[in-house]
Amino acid sequence: MNSAAKSKGEIAFHLLGIAAVSIALLALCALLIDIISSGYSKVSLDFITSYPSRRPANAGIAAALVGSLYLMLLTACFSLPLGVGAAVYLEEYATENKFSKLIELNIANLAGVPSIIYGILGLQLFVRYANLERSLLAGAFTMSLLILPIIIIASREAIRRVPDSIRQAAFALGATRWEMIRDQVIPAAFPGIMTGCILAFSRAIGETAPLITLGALTYIAFLPDGLLSPFGALPIQAFNWISRPQAAFHDNAAGAIIILLTVLLSMNIIAVVLRGRFQKKFAT
């Protein structure tokens, strides 16, 4: 009698759990279906290769897409070495003391700072003080600072998973600390580092707020031609189209979002493949 009542409660809670998951999944489905149904007719070669226009039918995302890809590549160039370097420092060099604790705490806190604050930082630091204007370089620097905590945290985890016996073996052969890190730790941790970094880069490619604060342009009829060139970005372009009153532009926004999600999806697939390879490496 009692146990039957109990199991009823359990069944009820189980159903509650399934309902909660379903709400989340339904929201995801609704979002994807809404965007695809509004935007799929826009996605075409023309859309990808055209520049912004006053007429929604002619407008395209060429400048935004190329700008986003350049931005991501540049961001990767700055944030990867800095982030992995910081992770290596914390895992392989720093002894446990107040200073390393401070760095650690600071990174954890930075990871929670709203992205728009990074935009304000970038605006003053790079756009004004360093006089980079609203350039690709200023955008990439800002994005690098934004994703640095994510890269550091992911890289540290990957480095920590390299067994200590590997380090001992390298030291015992007479490797210096740097040789040990360069030849053993980083190669062994590499797929894990890349997995975390790709997820961080996909965060960078989807970020909008800091670029708005920096003043990335939405109406750009040319491709960036250098590091100091002004640039557009996919999420900015989408935001611009969303904010317009004409419904036709909203479909353009959906089209741009489809492209953005496609880029993100392919990056995530790469990350998953790398993760699989990493797990295989230490399996035996």
Partner: protein, 281 residues
């Protein structure tokens, strides 16, 4: 300056099957201490792990370090190539002289010390790379760049570690695909590839099955004479089988040190006798 690798290319291979040669003492080497330890105290933070250790380890012989768990034998082994330095908060008193150099002295170059003193660990720890890369890594960081020279060293080292015939057709395969015993012999080959004088072995067979253990023991017998081998072991029979000299440690102190045969048949100390008879530990 980095040294180029001078390799023992002219050492004849000894057949695995006929390797039981412990009783022949290499005459010329018995008198020269290769490792001389004087009044060594060692601390992990506030805990003292070694007390006033003094002993001479002779060149070309196999010296076994035995004793109950936590007696300091592994700590002692790791002072000889200063692997203990990697642990924060350790310090030492006294001196260790390895072939004429005080290794804790100010001028000691850890790179050349560890090149001279190779080490094999309790659990095999191959790098997650190819078999070839594992063996070639040591010579590479010590300056050997030439590809064919590296290939030569890899072959010789694998031959000496008695692994060559099992892996020669798959040098590019991952080292992690090898069996446990093969991995441990690979680690020995890796240590031999930098041409050390001394080989430290920290319970090299403790994680292996009896067959693989026998192979490692045969290998130690083959390497004897060419290398000074210091081996930590839990296994009394193993110490008896492979070593010329035995040092018995207990509670961080060196209780007794002498010819293996003497230690096992007529130990001078009661503690040693109790341990060997299996009364404690």
């Amino acid at each position: 300056m980095r040294h180029s690798v001078a390799h023992n290319l002219d050492i004849p291979m000894i057949n695995t099957a006929s390797s039981n040669k412990q009783s022949e003492q290499p005459q010329s080497q018995t008198s020269t201490p290769c490792i001389a330890v004087r009044d060594l105290n060692f601390y992990y933070g506030d805990t003292q792990a070694l007390f006033d250790i003094s002993l001479d380890i002779e060149a070309g012989l196999v010296t076994a370090l035995i004793g109950p768990s936590g007696c300091g034998k592994s700590t002692f082994l790791r002072t000889i190539n200063r692997m203990n330095d990697l642990i924060a908060g350790t310090r030492h008193e006294g001196e260790i002289v390895v072939s004429g150099h005080e290794i804790y002295g100010k001028k000691t170059d850890l790179v050349s010390l560890r090149k001279k003193v190779g080490m094999v660990f309790q659990r095999s720890n191959p790098f997650p790379k190819s078999i070839f890369e594992n063996v070639a890594y040591g010579p590479k960081i010590h300056g050997t760049k030439n590809k064919s020279r590296l290939a030569e060293i890899v072959e010789k080292s694998l031959l000496r570690a008695d692994l060559w015939h099992e892996v020669k057709d798959r040098l590019g395969d991952s080292a992690l695909a090898l069996s446990g015993g093969q991995q441990q012999r690979l680690c020995i080959a890796r240590a031999l590839a930098v041409d050390p004088e001394i080989l430290l072995m920290d319970e090299p067979a403790s994680a292996l099955d009896p067959r693989s253990t026998a192979k490692i023991e045969n290998l130690i017998a083959e390497l004897r004479g060419d290398y000074t081998i210091v081996i930590v072991t839990h296994n009394m029979q193993q110490a008896g089988r492979v070593s010329d000299k035995t040092a018995f440690f207990c509670d961080g102190k060196l209780v007794e040190y002498g010819d293996t045969e003497a230690i096992f048949t007529k130990p001078q100390q009661q503690q040693t006798e109790d341990y060997i008879r299996g009364r404690f530990g």
